[in-house]
Symmetry: C2
Amino acid sequence: MAIHKKEEFSQKEQDLAAFAKALAHPARIAILKLLAQRNECICGEIVEVLPLSQSTVSQHLKELKTAGLINGNIDGPRSCYCINWKAFEKFMGEFSFLFNKLKVQNEKACC
Amino acid sequence: MAIHKKEEFSQKEQDLAAFAKALAHPARIAILKLLAQRNECICGEIVEVLPLSQSTVSQHLKELKTAGLINGNIDGPRSCYCINWKAFEKFMGEFSFLFNKLKVQNEKACC
DNA sequence: CTCCCTAATCGTATATTTGCGATATAAGAT
DNA sequence: ATCTTATATCGCAAATATACGATTAGGGAG
């Protein structure tokens, strides 16, 4: 890649792409699923469930956090994560807006 | 990456991740937006709109097609793409199922 | 058939992601 | 103060992704 061209796209496009990138790995999907399923936020239980090392899981958690999809209470000995539903809904909403809405006027596709 | 661990996750997790990965680049978001906006399916007009070379755009189109998000009529001189709304809805539905549904029982988050 | 035009593919350079072991950090227990 | 436990971070290796120019392929026009 000579130069990153990502900056040349609109902010909204970049934001949606960043959101999608955060979801673009089965481990992160699995983490989010776990966080969504448990009543209590989890910490290192994730490490036991996933087929990945502790450091790798920690890295995935960091990516999800950086993307704003999860919140983390790093309080001392154990840290507690949970889904940031607000951010989640925001992005899902934007996707729906972008694609579901435009779909109506475009039903007669050629292929 | 010593070994790819992606295979160790469930098929559904892998599928969702693959879908997200297809969306994980502003260029591909822009392409999908374009395809959704135009009544007619487009071909190389995309190249003119995007700040990328023809070969790069072609590669992104290929990725979207491989992911099943778009259909392509490669009919001779010019090829015509359009969004595969069915696949799109399938994935959006699965995301909603996974996250929106689980949200209800998990409103009292700790962080 | 030869000349265009459009689009796909190849080869390659560079950037980013993924994964892990080792190490650091931070708080509670002894 | 030291040990333990739970996480985060660093450094590195390998795999992927991104981008582009050059080339190839496949029609239509003349």
